[in-house]
């Protein structure tokens, strides 16, 4: 298994007053992601056949984390993986 990939990490806003609030958002993906394709067929009595496919992404479960300087407050946002509500020190 390969190391996962962080696509981006951003702070919004980028400049704040001391103690100010900032939202830090991370986007990442699993380098081992291996989509699997399943093909369905539908055949009538004469042998006519229709097909359709669906792609199922197969990923490792990933966990986002964030650390900051002493005194900073970091709260992972419930239901939004990779999003952290923070206050700078």
């Amino acid at each position: 298994m390969a190391t996962p990939v962080i696509d981006s990490i951003t702070a919004n806003p980028a400049t704040v007053v001391p103690g100010g609030a900032v939202v830090i958002t991370m986007v990442g993906h699993d380098a081992d992601s291996a989509p699997q394709t399943f093909v369905g067929t539908l055949t009538d009595a004469a042998g006519h056949q229709a097909t359709a496919s669906v792609v199922i992404p197969v990923n490792d479960p990933l966990t986002f984390g964030l650390t900051g300087p002493v005194g900073a407050v970091i709260v992972p946002r419930a239901g939004s993986p990779g999003v952290f509500d923070c206050r700078v020190a």
Partner: protein
């Protein structure tokens, strides 16, 4: 200024871990920004820092539609346009250099007449009075009356403006599936009702703001007062609207309503006062299908009638509402017709429970008057 480093990590099930830093600038002189929850949906429009061009009532339309990115057109005090006319502002700015039409800062606001369309993108209109009725401009109202200010493009801002005395549907309308608009520090009052009569056929369909398909809008620091039906109405699939720090008062039917397929609206740090007292309706109605309606730290008082018990309703999440008299200096009350000379005052008295009750995550840095809100924001348009 100092820099604080935050380090993000991403770990898979086998313990493999990637990490990456992000820097946050910490500056005690940094201009305060919009609350972080607001910034998730919409960002401020940059200033127009290019050349300033002066205009007068005879040449403003041609000059407005010849602006280059970053330029501003200043309107000297006076009357522009005419009832029965339509002006469509079709010139485009760019993301880093919006174009602006504005009255001269510090001077009396120019008075704009007729129907105005903002076609975008990247347009700002500031420091002006849009004075209804529109006159015959194609309807759909009788005599061709229509909405005063129509937001019809992406990336727009209306700020420090007054919209008043429209006869049909709304002072401000947003439609055409537009995205990213900001309505800031505006006084939106006495709109709706043909000939100013709030008992006519528009008594449930003419509003202060009427937001049809439109997405990622911010309505903040506005006084939305004494409009025919609803102060702020949204329908169809309007979504991701952020409604913060407004004083929504004395509107006939409801203070604000999200209806039909609307979803993902946040109302935070507002005051809902004296709405629906005559026609019956809540201060806040979350009547759309949702999901994602959030009623967060709003102050409610004396909404609905005659029982005055339904301050809010609907399918959303309600978080820490405050039902209490916000103690405005001279609060508006509903009357069944437009008020030609409103004299209300919605600043807060020193005993107001709205003082300091706002959630900083949804705060605007300044109030209606430009007063800093600091770290303890009040609810409503005015910081005490």
């Amino acid at each position: 200024m100092t820099i604080q480093i935050f380090t993000g990590t991403l770990t898979d099930a086998a313990g493999h871990q990637a990490s990456q830093d992000v820097a946050v600038n910490v500056d005690s002189l940094a201009p305060p920004s919009w609350g972080p929850k607001i910034l998730e949906w919409i960002q401020p429009l940059p200033d127009s820092t290019g050349a300033i061009i002066m205009a007068n009532p005879g040449d403003w339309q041609a000059k407005a539609n010849a602006l280059l990115p970053g330029q501003s057109l200043y309107l000297t005090a006076g009357e522009y346009g005419a009832r029965g006319s339509t002006f469509s502002w079709t010139r485009a700015g760019i993301a880093t250099a919006p174009i602006t039409i504005s009255g001269i800062p510090g001077d009396p606001k120019p008075i704009i007449r007729g129907k105005i369309n903002l076609n975008g993108p990247y347009q700002r209109w500031s420091h002006s009075i849009f004075d209804g009725p529109t006159g015959p401009t194609g309807g759909p109202g009788p005599n061709g009356e229509s909405i005063l200010v129509n937001l019809q493009g992406n990336e727009l801002e209306l700020s420090d403006c007054e919209m008043r005395y429209d006869y049909w549907h709304a002072g401000i309308g947003a439609n055409a599936a537009i995205s990213k608009y900001r309505i800031l520090n505006c006084y939106i009052h006495d709109n709706g009702g043909y000939l100013g009569d709030y008992t006519d056929a528009q008594s449930n369909t003419s509003h202060g703001l009427y937001l049809s398909p439109s997405y990622y809008g911010l309505i903040a620091n506005c006084v939305i007062e004494h409009n025919d039906a609803k102060g702020l109405m949204g329908r169809h699939d309007s979504h991701n609207l952020m409604i913060v720090h407004n004083t929504i008062v004395a509107n006939g039917r409801k203070g604000s309503e999200a209806y039909e397929q609307t979803h993902d609206w946040t109302w935070a740090n507002n005051i809902f006062l004296n709405n629906g007292n005559v026609k019956g309706g809540e201060g806040l109605s979350m009547a759309g299908i949702g999901p994602g309606f959030l009623n967060r730290r709003n102050v409610f008082w004396h909404n609905n009638g005659p029982s005055l018990t339904d301050e809010w309703a609907g399918v959303g999440t309600t978080s820490e509402p405050l039902v209490a008299d916000p103690k405005c200096v001279r609060p508006a009350v509903y009357t069944p017709h437009q008020d030609p000379a409103p004299d209300w005052d919605h600043h807060l008295m020193s005993t107001s429970p709205a003082i300091g009750y706002g959630d900083p995550d949804y705060a605007m840095p300044f109030d209606f008057d430009g007063k800093p809100r600091g770290t303890s924001p009040d609810c409503g348009a005015f910081q005490h």
